[in-house]
């Protein structure tokens, strides 16, 4: 089996949002919308400012794509069964079926789903499954990240880069207490002093 997941090295993320923009290009994401948002300390995607008081300050940027949860709370509420979790772990939306209601959007604890008003459908990260299923090795955000912070791979393959990252490092998952079993693993390649 294949189980896709993200590992994102937060030490290497400088908040440049190349992931965001490359994804917008690759996936024709509508103006003003972002499938992978890079949140700063204030939980925003703009006007980054450090936390703390000068000179004891810190910056944190956290790229937040769909977490492709094992227990995705966004699926059951869909009235038209337009969204589901594939066997390879990717949570997808079929835009032919989606009626653009906000049932799934409001259930996502990660704000990973949003309404593309122009198209009248829900949009979200689909882990560039069109790439991964067609011979491309990397999602667009992984391919374009200048700092090589993003790793996408198969958790079921113990030899995959992502499996090794998870085995060898302390990893954390976002908002884990939501009980959703997210599949984005955040880690730091350089430990904080």
């Amino acid at each position: 089996m294949t189980k896709y997941a993200f590992a994102i090295n937060l030490h290497r993320c400088v908040g440049c949002r190349t992931c965001t923009v490359s994804c917008k290009m690759e996936n024709t994401v509508a103006d003003g919308l972002q499938r992978i948002r890079v949140l700063n300390d204030a939980g925003e995607t703009t006007l980054d400012a450090p936390a703390g008081v000068y000179p004891n300050v810190s910056f944190l940027w956290r790229p937040v794509p769909c977490q492709h949860c094992d227990e995705p709370p966004c699926i059951d509420p869909c009235p038209v069964e337009a969204t589901w979790k594939r066997d390879d772990g990717v949570v997808v939306v079929d835009k032919e079926l989606c009626i653009g209601c906000d049932s799934c959007i409001k259930m996502c604890p990660y704000d990973a789903r949003f309404l593309d008003e122009t198209a009248g459908v829900v949009d979200k990260c689909d882990l560039c499954i069109h790439r991964l299923s067609n011979g491309e090795e990397k999602t667009m955000c992984e391919l374009c990240c200048p700092n090589r912070a993003i790793t996408v791979g198969d958790l079921d393959d113990p030899e995959s880069a992502i499996s090794k990252i998870i085995a060898e490092n302390n990893v954390e998952r976002y908002d884990e207490e939501a009980g959703t079993q997210p599949n984005v693993y955040y880690w730091w390649s350089v430990k904080k002093a």
């Binding site: 006007l47 936390a51 704000d111 390649s189």
Partner: protein, 862 residues
């Protein structure tokens, strides 16, 4: 180093950084700018202008019928589209704004339209990269509604925005008419050219010189006015070259990396991964910066420093190194001019004929050291050396490097000391306590920095633009080179002082002169670009009636905005701007010409600061509208003047590159490239050593051939050795009582200077300009985030929204640069606040460097 070390970020609890944020920026009230948290998605939708062409990229997740779920398990899978957009070809381009990274870009093209881009391959995959600027450029700047589409002649008042579309033929006729009138009435130097760096192709960067030399006009030098010359002027007196750096992968192997004024995470984001690689391999990264930059945020240690005082910090470090005898006396004696005797009275090096003198302690007498002859030195930009160094050029092992000696030269008695003694004397005053008081860095931090540099080796110094942008901006690099020299760190792997480097400047300096001056028997008159405004305003030393800008956001990226509008432009009869975009400079012109983008040029050769790859840029899409390359425009002018066939303009762009950039290059390392192979592969490494270690030969292009840590041509400026003096507008001078804040203008991670600020995708991240002000300074002035503030000094004022942040050392503000007047309230612009004060020492070395951070301002709520 408690401050630096404790500055590291603690990871906040997950709950505190929870993604849901429904009220904007915490407790700062309503969000100043739309965020993309869900509640404001819709607000943001109207922010950026929609690109003229929105490429249809692909149809991912469109229909289940399309699912081609290769290898995926059965069951619920799909829907998926194809792996790539519908494209008919992929063309390799090189993105080359002034970030100096020159990323290779694969452009996916459908019906002659770029539908997407991906990083292109390099032989070393460490250089496969792209960033949001390059992506936005390809998809949105190329297709920007602000493109200059065809030649346009001004019909209303200057700056009125009233234009008449004209044909290229009419435009070239008009240019020739204006140039000819000036030649006949004022002399050919009345026509002038100022080009910059918006496109790192060879011709766009050299166009000004090529045109000025073809028509005997004035070429404004551009290194100073671009603000990049400060570091070079630390290099020139000591090493004889302008800049150099090791390969970036040389960081892997450094135990300590100390960075002065380097914010690679924002300004060289495609190279930053090398620093992470080094850090993960065990390097300790120390960042010296008044700002908690994104690079500082990733460092192991951050040392906040008072702006413009990095040289004093290094003087303090050298004081420790010498006091603790952590210097490399053999290196100083053999490879630098530290043993050369200096006349105590004149402070000039003592010469006996052509020879330098040293004091031989064994013989108790002077000994001669001959200068290395030029044919034995590397001829920059080459690093190759020939022949053996004659014994006469070697300093005896028993030569003194300190002390004072009574000597006799040519029958004259004088008191002399080895040059290194001058360094010992000059840094003696910079005890850690003194340096601490100047730099506002703790004594402990200075002592620890010196210890780390000397003991946790190999230790590398990186120095860059942050130090460049003060009026005394050559001093830090001079100090860094001196510090590396006295510790034997020059020419050493994983060490050295690193600034710029790679092939970028090297190739420009080595293009065959017949290509650079395309018309035999004709030459340009160079004038210092840092003085272009004053010289035009005063019409000195000769009349200047026409200026032609290319490759330059001259409307925003310079100093003295008021002077420009009120005193300079009125002196000019004709202003031509060639650009992609109708920007602030183009708007003030009399004639604008549409330039091709990187993707449209017929052919270019592009190099980078970070590596020795040479890339051939072939045309990927046909020119948009009526755009033409600088080279084509130059050819049309030559044709109109009836001289094309007798000049180098007769070659097409590719042939010009073959003859002059590669096959006729002055450096054997570039000549070694097979041009046809370059065209075929589009990326070939020039034949520089790998790994590349600057000054590995220990032969320097200086008068003596040594690393000249003593420069007697700078005695009159008190800069014969590394020195420190305050910035022009130091925050400790009297002026600071009136204008207490140091006005930095660093760029963001989202832009390269003015090139990307108005692109829709960039606009989602930075919808409008802001000025960063520290919490302490904001509180003193009753300023909150989102307030419109008035920023002013005696030179001018502008208005902008404030972002209150803990990122800055109090006393500093930071206007993120690159914005155009139209982005600020009342079309005001910060360039009005910036001075262009000349620095006599810099003018003696080369040319004063524009110092955009070295300006004091005050801020008040508007």
């Amino acid at each position: 180093m408690t401050r630096g070390l404790t500055a590291k970020g603690e990871v906040r609890p997950w709950s505190e950084t929870h993604v849901r944020n429904e009220s904007g920026r915490g407790d700062e009230g309503a969000s100043m700018l739309p965020s993309t948290s869900r509640r404001s998605f819709l607000k943001l939708a109207g922010v950026g202008a929609v690109a003229a062409i929105t490429p249809q990229v692909l149809t991912a997740c469109s229909t289940q019928e399309k699912a081609t779920d290769g290898g995926a398990p059965l069951g619920k899978s799909g829907p998926v589209g194809t792996a790539q957009p519908d494209y008919d070809r992929v063309g390799r381009c090189t993105c080359a704004p002034n970030c100096v990274g020159s990323c290779g870009i694969n452009a996916f093209v459908k019906d002659d339209t770029i539908v997407k881009v991906e990083p292109a391959d390099f032989p070393d995959e460490n250089y496969n990269r792209i960033c949001l600027c390059g992506i936005s450029n390809a998809l949105q700047r190329v297709y920007s509604p602000d493109r200059i589409k065809y030649p346009m002649k001004r019909v209303g008042e200057r700056g009125s925005g009233e234009w008449e579309r004209i044909s290229w033929e009419e435009a070239i006729d008009l240019i020739c008419e204006k140039m000819t009138y000036n030649i006949e009435n004022y002399g050919p130097t009345a026509n002038s050219w100022l080009g910059m760096t918006g496109n790192y192709g060879i011709v766009p960067q050299c166009f000004s010189g090529m045109m000025a030399s073809t028509y005997d006009g004035t070429q404004w030098t551009n290194f100073g006015i671009m603000g990049d010359l400060g570091c070079n002027m630390g290099w020139i007196p000591t090493t004889g070259v302008q800049q150099d750096a090791a390969d970036w992968e040389d960081m892997l192997g450094s135990k300590t990396i100390i960075m002065f004024g380097c914010n690679y995470a924002e300004t060289n984001k495609q190279e930053m991964h090398f620093l992470f690689d080094a850090q993960e391999a065990g390097s300790r990264v120390i960042v010296v910066d008044p700002r908690y930059s994104r690079t500082a945020a990733k460092a192991d240690v951050w040392i906040p420093i008072r702006p413009g005082t990095d040289a004093a910090l290094m003087m303090g470090m050298m004081n420790c190194l010498i006091a603790d005898n952590k210097i490399d006396t053999d290196y100083i004696r053999s490879n630098t001019n530290g043993a050369f005797l200096v006349d105590a009275a004149t402070r000039k090096l003592v010469k006996d004929g052509d020879d330098y003198l040293v004091w031989d302690e064994q013989e108790n007498a002077v000994a001669k050291v001959s200068p290395l002859s030029d044919d034995l030195k590397p001829a920059y930009p080459s690093v190759q050396v020939q022949g053996e160094v004659p014994d006469a050029c070697d300093v005896p092992d028993t030569a003194a490097i300190t002390g004072t000696y009574e000597i006799e030269v040519g029958g004259e008695k004088l008191t002399a000391s080895p040059a290194f003694q001058a360094i010992v004397d000059s840094v003696a005053a910079y005890t850690p306590e003194v340096a601490s008081a100047i730099c506002e860095v703790s004594v402990d931090d200075i002592v620890e920095l010196a210890r780390a540099y000397a003991e946790d080796t190999p230790a590398k110094i990186q120095i860059s633009q942050g130090t460049n942008r003060y009026w005394n901006g050559h001093l830090p690099t001079r100090a860094a080179i001196q510090m590396a020299a006295i510790t034997g760190n020059v020419g050493k792997q994983y060490a050295g002082v690193n600034w710029a480097g790679g092939g970028l400047m090297r190739v420009l300096f080595s293009v065959n002169p017949e290509g650079m001056a395309p018309r035999e028997g004709h030459a340009a008159t160079a004038l210092p670009g840092t003085q272009w405004m004053d010289l035009v305003a005063s019409q000195q030393p000769h009349p200047i009636k026409l200026i032609w800008f290319n490759n330059y956001g001259w409307g925003t990226q310079g100093p003295e905005g008021r002077k420009l509008v009120e005193e300079v432009l009125p002196q000019l009869d004709f202003i031509i701007t060639t650009d992609n975009i109708l920007n602030a400079g183009a708007e003030m012109s009399d004639l604008v010409l549409p330039a091709t983008s990187y993707y449209e040029e017929p052919f270019e050769v592009v190099t980078a600061w970070s590596n020795f790859y040479v890339q051939a840029r072939e045309q990927v899409i046909p020119p948009m509208y009526e755009a033409k390359s600088d080279y084509e425009i130059g050819q049309m002018v030559a044709e109109r003047f009836g001289i094309k066939d007798e000049t180098a303009w007769k070659h097409d762009a590719k042939e010009w590159a073959r003859k002059y950039v590669i096959e006729g290059n002055a450096a054997p390392e570039f000549r070694a490239i097979d041009f046809d192979e370059l065209v075929e592969k589009q990326v070939v490494r020039a034949d520089f050593p790998s790994p590349y270690i600057p000054f590995e030969s220990q032969r320097f292009a200086t008068p003596s051939g040594k690393l000249e840590i003593y420069t007697d041509s700078l005695v009159d400026f008190g800069e014969e050795v590394a020195a420190f003096y305050e910035p022009a507008e130091s925050n400790r001078q009297e002026l600071a009582a009136k204008f207490p804040l140091t006005f930095m203008n660093a760029r963001t991670v989202y832009t390269t200077h003015s090139q990307h600020v108005n692109l829709p995708w960039i606009g989602e991240l930075i919808p409008e300009p802001w000025i960063e002000i520290s919490t302490a300074d904001a509180q003193d002035r009753g300023i909150a985030t989102g307030d419109v503030v008035r920023v002013f000094n005696d030179r001018g004022e502008y208005r902008v929204k404030a972002l209150v942040t803990e990122e800055l050392k109090p006393g500093c503000v930071n206007q993120r640069q690159g914005w155009w007047p139209k982005h600020f309230p009342e079309n005001s612009h910060y360039r009005d606040l910036l001075h262009m004060k000349l620095n006599p020492a810099q003018d003696a070395i080369f040319e004063t460097n524009f110092a955009p951070y070295d300006n004091l301002v005050e801020i008040e709520k508007a």
